[in-house]
Symmetry: C2
């Protein structure tokens, strides 16, 4: 069965990487269903995610969620989903090179997100945080002191190159939403380090405010569709990782 | 100055992430120049890379090499470069959904490469391997035992879904070249673990042979343009990381 409605397939209990797709769908008020947040007896829940991952469909199999189903096709990998989706819902820049640059930005965000995740899982995603705390303390220190300023500085420079307030000028596109999400996540996970380091990034702090105030985004953030940050996601508040004390 | 010739900007002394772009350019016999491998007095060398990273050009700044310069535009991030480049040089599938799936595969390869890299740098890229050997031993064990079989199994399943011998059927596209490069790298870095684990992946071993025998690829691999694997790159042969003994 093919459908014009977008179906997002992602774990129902955390923001995770699915949130980058969810934010774009919400900001555009796109017609979508968050499949796994439906009750199980309506085809939702975690079984719905596992069913898609089992992969008895045609075409390229997904490695992991998030997955977008549209017109019968399954698309995985956050940045690939957004590259496909954004032009259809009015969240991509217009010309080919700018669209490649939007993808380029999104991939740098992907790297940043992976590094933020690895602060609490530096050894293995197959182990609990509690089993890699010592290594996590070291990795988090390097993240706070070297990587966080580097990524913030890079995107501040990107805003300067466009003239702002968004990455492609006066209108928000999907990487702006993703940068917003990373800033939200980092200020949740590393409140002390983020507050201190982001002082050097006035353009990013302004972008964060502007995105948060977009009417569709504001309505989404105030709704119960927005899952709160928690310690199952990418951005986790472990106070010992926010400080060398 | 704009030019139809492709210019690849990448560190001149290692394969690194630049190799995924280089392989595509070579496989297509595209007209390109590997800028930093020119002598410094011809505008090459490491200063050429640093010059581009300084970023006094227009448009989105690059975060890191590899960078492609084409028609005056700079494009960074390996997967974004390949998504832009491949349709122009005959290495992309034809329809839109397949092109998104090629990007999806490339992004899963990107994740795989990052995890292979982090086996020797689990704490920080700002420290030497020698300063994180204990953590590296743990991360490498998790990579060999959990992640390597998972990624190999995934791409074996992807080949089964297309019918093979390539990811999109009978003709090679850019993610096939990248899978080849990862298999080469892993068999260099983890000869014992790769030989053992890849026995379960006959389709991938066949793809590796087929890509290596493509005339343009074979000519490239035999040339001095192919930099040998070494311990400055992503795939490093540290025997202690290939075994729990």
């Amino acid at each position: 069965m093919t459908s014009e409605r977008y179906e997002l397939i992602y774990w129902p209990v955390l923001q995770g990487r699915g949130e980058f797709v969810r934010l774009a769908l919400e900001a555009a008020r796109a017609d979508y269903v968050d499949v796994a947040r439906l009750p199980e007896d309506q085809g939702g829940g975690i079984p719905a995610v596992l069913q898609v991952l089992k992969g008895d469909h045609e075409g390229a199999p997904p490695f992991a969620p998030p997955i977008l189903r549209h017109r019968g096709a399954l698309i995985a990998q956050t940045a690939a989903i957004l590259h496909y989706l954004a032009p259809r819902i009015g969240l991509a820049p217009n010309d080919e090179v700018s669209r490649i640059h939007a993808l380029q930005y999104q991939l740098t965000i992907t790297d940043w997100v992976a590094e933020a995740h690895d602060t609490h899982h530096p050894v293995s995603t197959g182990l609990y945080y509690e089993d890699q705390k010592k290594e996590a303390a070291k990795r988090a220190k390097a993240f706070r002191e070297q990587r966080l300023p580097k990524f913030l500085g890079y995107f501040e420079r990107a805003l300067a190159s466009s003239g702002g307030p968004y990455l492609f000028g006066s209108e928000p596109t999907y990487p702006d939403l993703s940068v917003f999400q990373v800033l939200e996540g980092l200020s949740y996970a590393f409140p002390r380090a983020f507050a201190e380091t982001s002082k050097q990034s006035p353009g990013l702090l302004k972008l964060r405010k502007l995105v948060r105030a977009l009417p569709n985004v504001a309505a989404y953030l105030a709704s119960e569709r927005r899952i709160p940050f928690n310690e199952d996601g990418i951005f986790r508040r472990y106070p010992e990782l926010d400080s060398s004390e």
